[in-house]
């Protein structure tokens, strides 16, 4: 079995190397086959592992592969932890990745950087798999940074575009701010737990629970709280939680397949995965959980609002992703880790589907992304239309579809939660349901229904995308529809996660589980509940304002001009960062350089002392006149002094 574990990340890595280094020799088809076969093998092996551990019930595996470094307190290496949490992530990551690989053949068909692209996404898959399979913080951080690197390379894939290279630098730096916290969190773990191995750390956690660390003279904070918050800062960067969310909308500059794979389905959920993995630590600090809960709730609601005013099809989906990541974070904060991971999984399917659907539309529209120039695409692109409908319904939580189960579980969990901030979080996620439905169907109606607003030339060329595009759509639509129905019982209430996730009392999911009588009953019951009503109201409102009375939407824009402008301005985060952090950093740097280095050190001290030496030398030089009698006179004078001194002492 061990060689199978090893094969899962190595197969895509091999694909990446072949496609990357020998891209020119093997050609375009060779490159995509290399990458696809690599990821395909990883997918098949993941299924084998899933069967082995989940269906056949083999025990968890935790073992080391090789030692990276041994120094002082730390013994660091590469190792795998295969438990139910890993298994589910493996299957989700490799499946979505495989779909995206296939889709890419169609989407990037004419791009000169074809081989490079395949190399990158295969490399991404490798990094992501190393991240989820890690059995220690070190490897987690390696994977964490590696996915960030590939994300950087892929956002800037079209590096000629100024907006793309602006976006990738921004993404990397904002993520680095998160990593800054993450790394300090890891350092705290290393210091207080004496190890970076998950198992050792989790075993030691209860013992550390009451320890404090000195922050300043006289100020002591709980070790676990500080550690968890630092780790969560990392998650905030990667999973784009407010205020570190600013990079994700801009990341849409990258090609659409990677928006689906990296910036929706997998990489951005790494933070969620990480917090769920750390549940034995987070459970020991209700303060940290409250922070998680509130940040998640803010993201879920306020990022949803931003989706309402966007006209770029990809940006709407991006804000929807932000909002949904907020939902997952809320679940973590409410200690409903299983619900968070469940939503991560369903979201991976339906959001990848929506992005790839958006991509399919973009291909048909000749790379036009403005929804105001679309409309009525239903009759031209039936497969894209129907799959997008399934994806949108799943997203808004339509009963029996996957998103319903995961989102309802989260809302219920927050409802049952009693920690600080849970009331606010509950209202935020509830209102968020309405907003989600509103922006999702606003987009859906604007793209597929109503008047055809594109120009004549584009309209003539409108047609359904090729099979390499539509087949992945269909394959993603299937789990988007049914996975919730199938998985809700085992994952949330059936103890699927076993020891992988630890929840201390009160266990909100267990309480919800008392009223659970099967997936069908859950859905039927859901139809009488406020979230469903809110979602339907959202769809109705979207229909009314986009199709029935579009003029009213404009009226609202002018009526509530201030709010509209704030939303368009994205609450001013970007401007603030640009002025305060980017501008401020440069300004301070310039002052330090001009004043500190050039004026003070070089000007005053270095050149100053050189000038002093020169000045002294200039005076002393007069002594050396070159006249022999001057020197003779001086010698006699000196001799006199010397003799006087000898006699007088």
């Amino acid at each position: 079995m061990q060689s199978i574990y090893l094969g899962i990340p190595l197969a895509p890595l091999a694909g990446a190397i072949v496609a990357g280094l020998f891209g020119r020799q093997i050609g375009r088809a060779g490159a995509h086959w290399a990458a696809i076969i690599g990821v395909g093998i990883a997918f098949v092996l993941s299924l084998i592992v899933f069967k082995h551990h989940i269906i056949d019930g083999a025990p968890d595996f935790n073992g080391n592969v090789y030692t990276w470094i041994e120094s002082g307190v730390l013994h660091l290496g590469v190792g795998f932890l295969i438990d139910p949490l890993t298994c589910i992530m493996l299957v989700v990551v490799t499946f979505v990745s495989l779909m995206v690989h296939i889709y890419t053949i169609g989407y990037m068909h004419d791009d000169p950087g074809y081989q490079r692209f395949f190399s990158y996404i295969a490399l991404f898959t490798f990094s992501m798999l190393m991240l989820v399979m890690a059995n220690n913080f070190m490897q987690l951080f390696f994977g964490w940074e590696a996915v960030g690197l590939v994300s950087y390379l892929l956002i800037g894939f079209w590096f000629k575009r100024p907006s793309a290279v602006y976006a990738n630098l921004k993404a990397f730096l904002v993520n680095r701010v998160g990593d800054f916290g993450f790394l300090l969190g890891i350092a705290a773990v290393a210091l207080y737990f004496g190890s970076l191995d998950y198992a050792t750390v989790f075993r030691a956690a209860p013992g550390v629970a009451s320890e404090t660390m000195p922050i300043m003279a006289g100020v002591e904070w709980n070790v676990i709280t500080v550690t968890c918050i630092l780790l969560f800062i990392g998650a905030m960067g990667k999973s784009a939680q407010v205020p570190l969310h600013v990079w994700l909308p801009d990341s849409m500059e990258g090609p659409t397949p990677i928006s689906a794979l990296i910036h929706a389905a997998t990489m951005v959920t790494a933070g969620i995965f990480m917090v769920a993995r750390m549940s034995p630590l987070f459970e020991l600090s209700s303060t940290a959980l409250s922070v998680v809960l509130v940040i998640g709730a803010i993201t879920a609601l306020f990022m949803g609002f931003l989706g309402l005013v966007q006209n770029d099809i990809k940006r709407v989906v991006a804000y929807s992703t932000l909002s949904q990541l907020g939902y997952m974070t809320v679940a973590l904060g409410a200690s409903a880790y299983a619900a968070g991971i469940f939503h991560l999984m369903t979201h991976a399917f339906f959001k990848a589907l929506l992005f790839l659907g958006a991509g399919s539309v973009i291909i048909a529209m000749h790379h036009e992304q403005d929804m105001r120039k679309m409309g009525g695409l239903k009759k031209y692109m039936p497969i894209t239309y129907w799959t997008a409908l399934i994806g949108s319904l799943a997203l808004i939580g339509f009963p029996f579809l996957s998103g319903f189960y995961s989102k309802d579980a989260i809302i219920e969990a927050v409802h049952h939660s009693t920690i600080a901030g849970s009331t606010f979080a509950y209202w935020a996620v509830l209102l968020g349901v309405f907003i989600t439905a509103l922006y999702s169907f606003r987009m859906f109606f604007m793209v597929f229904h109503g008047k055809e607003r594109m120009d004549e030339h584009t309209r003539e060329h409108l047609r359904e995308s090729p099979a390499v595009v539509t087949v992945p759509l269909i394959l993603l639509a299937i789990p988007s529809a049914i996975i919730g129905f199938l998985a809700v019982e085992p994952m949330l209430f059936g103890g699927y996660f076993g020891n992988a996730i630890k929840v201390s009392e009160p266990n909100v999911l267990a309480e919800i589980g008392k009223d659970f009588h099967g997936a069908a009953a859950f859905a039927l019951h859901g139809m009488t509940q406020p979230p469903f009503m809110l979602a339907m109201a959202g769809v109705l409102a979207a229909w009314f304002f986009t199709l029935r009375r579009p003029d009213l939407a404009d009226a609202i824009k002018t009526r509530f001009g201030l709010i509209y402008r704030i939303l368009l301005d994205k609450y001013g985060f970007d401007r603030f960062n640009e002025i305060v952090f980017a501008g401020g950093g440069r300004k301070i740097g310039r002052i330090l350089w001009r004043f500190g280095d050039m004026r003070l050190i070089d000007g005053l001290i270095v050149n100053g002392s050189a000038r002093v030496v020169g000045w002294v030398a200039g005076i002393v030089r007069h002594v050396q006149t070159g006249y022999l009698y001057h020197y003779a006179f001086m010698m006699i004078l000196g001799l006199l002094f010397f003799m006087t001194w000898l006699i007088m002492r």
Partner: protein, 511 residues
């Protein structure tokens, strides 16, 4: 293999350099390559036959030199010096390759200068006699002075004078300290010794130690360089030819860090403990202040020079964090303290090796561009990746390593030092970790402006991608950077004994 491996590593390049001077320009390149590769090959057994189980000096050679003062030709290496020697011989090969077609003016003398300097630098790392060390230490300045002064840029005279005065003034007090230590080793001339290892054992009072520490500090701080005695470095780099910058950044700066390890820490441990706050403060200033200064540089070489200073801040931080850990009551038990302190010192060493590769590679990258367009201004470039895709691949890799990406060598040392300093004080780690953001910001912002975007102007449009020679030299460094990144264990393994020995030594007060 040989009894005199160290001597060969020192003298083969020196003799080779002299032979090239005699032979003249015609075959100078081939001869230089031959000698540098031969030296590298001879230095490999230092690593492969190194016994990592002991902290004692290995490959020792000791012959009387000046009997009156008990000066010996005394060489030997331990876990600290050996990796630095191999780094030196490796980087010299790279420098010879980098100069191949580029240096048209007096190539024989250029090559000779680098080979002679290689021998001298190996001498610095392997000398165990203080006089021998000091001679190598000062001799090192001469070839570097010539390299900048002859093959340098337009403002080279200012830069060489500044470089020379800074480093020379720094080391004068060191000489005084060395003579003082010599006098302390015995009461009669016959009993006295210049052996550095004897210096380690000297019982010195705290006051004595502080004076000696400060004398050493000035010498080493200039070399590292530490803030505020760093301003010679950007000027020297800007004016130096590519090879000069590579050696300067990759090896010469390390001599400062090595000096702390060989002299300051073991000879004046108590003064180091008293003044650890000063070094830690200056190190953190280097990381944050210099990092911000790097952000606003318009000249690529200046930017990388400042980035070097910031990265060397991790070396001094890692070395002196041990003392802060010793005095931290939070950490229970001597063994726990030793372990976290060891992490810092080993991190500092790994950082030195890694920085050798990365800064060398970054300067070579700038050199590649400079050879083509004869400017280092960032604003003169833009969209280089369009015309030089292979080069762009390497430069992005090295930039990522410079930004400390895991999987590259740049991450390892910084990570170890940050974890170690967290144990001393959370705020040390906090300030040190800002490099994650600042380091990425200045490096990747430069990458964005130089490599990405549309082709900025007609000059950039004419650029030719790197040829086989340049590809080969960058690939060698890329392999080194990645290898240390994914498998740093070989470096830390040779360090363990020496580090433990050092910690045992400095944990006990001397007086």
């Amino acid at each position: 293999m040989f009894e005199a491996n160290l001597s060969l590593t020192i003298w083969i390049p020196v003799i080779g350099g002299l032979l090239i001077l005699i032979a003249g320009d015609k075959w100078s390149r081939q001869l230089a390559l031959l000698f540098s590769v031969a030296t590298f090959v001879i230095s490999i057994p230092l690593w492969t036959q190194f016994d990592s189980g002991t902290a004692a000096m290995q490959f020792v050679e000791k012959r009387p030199w000046v009997d009156t003062f008990n000066i010996y030709y005394h060489l030997g290496v331990d876990g600290f010096s050996m990796p630095l020697i191999v780094l030196t011989t490796f980087m010299t090969v790279i420098v010879v390759i980098s100069a191949w077609e580029v240096i048209k003016k007096r190539p024989a003398q250029y090559m000779a200068a680098f080979l002679i300097m290689e021998g001298i630098m190996v001498g610095v790392f392997s000398a165990l006699d203080a006089v021998l060390f000091y001679i190598f230490w000062e001799a090192m300045l001469i070839p570097m002075f010539l390299i900048i002064g002859i093959w340098g840029g337009p403002n080279r005279v200012y830069a060489t004078i500044k470089f020379f005065l800074y480093t020379f003034l720094g080391s004068v007090l060191m000489l005084v300290a060395l003579i003082y230590l010599y006098l302390k080793t015995g009461d009669t001339a016959a009993a006295r010794s210049f052996s550095i290892l004897d210096f380690h054992k000297l019982p010195l009072t705290l006051t004595e130690q502080i004076y000696i520490f400060l004398a050493f500090l000035l010498a080493f701080a200039v070399k590292v360089p530490m803030w505020p005695v760093h301003t010679w470095l950007p000027d020297a780099h800007v004016e130096a030819p590519t090879g000069g910058s590579v050696i300067l950044a990759a090896i010469m700066l390390k001599i400062g860090g090595y000096g702390f390890l060989r002299f300051s820490l073991p000879i004046t441990p108590d003064a180091s403990r008293e003044l650890d706050w000063l070094i830690i403060l200056l190190s953190l200033v280097a990381v944050v202040y210099i990092g911000l200064v790097a952000l606003v540089q318009k000249d690529m070489k200046k930017l990388i020079a400042y980035s070097s200073i910031a990265h060397m801040g991790f070396v001094t931080l890692g070395l002196f964090i041990a003392f802060a850990i010793f005095s931290n009551p939070e950490i229970a038990g001597q063994s726990a303290r030793f372990k976290t302190a060891a992490l810092g010192i080993e991190g500092a060493m790994v950082q030195m090796i890694s920085h050798g590769f990365i800064s060398g590679a970054m300067f070579l990258c700038v050199g590649v561009l400079y050879d083509r367009l004869h400017t280092r201004e960032i604003s003169a470039y833009g969209g280089v990746a369009n015309v030089m895709p292979k080069f762009a691949m390497f430069m992005v890799l090295f930039a990522m390593a410079n930004a400390g990406l895991p999987g590259t060598s740049g991450f390892v040392g910084e990570f170890m030092v940050i974890i170690s300093s967290f144990s001393a004080n959370i705020w040390y780690a906090f300030l040190a970790a800002t490099t994650l953001v600042i380091g990425a910001a200045y490096t990747l912002w430069m990458v964005r402006r130089v490599l990405y975007g549309e082709v900025a102007n007609d000059n950039v449009a004419t650029l030719k991608d790197i040829g086989t020679r340049e590809y080969f030299m960058l690939a060698l460094l890329a392999i080194a950077v990645l290898l240390v990144g994914v498998w740093p264990a070989p470096i830390t393994e040779v360090l363990h004994s020496s580090v433990n020995n050092l910690l045992q030594h400095i944990a006990v007060p001397k007086y």
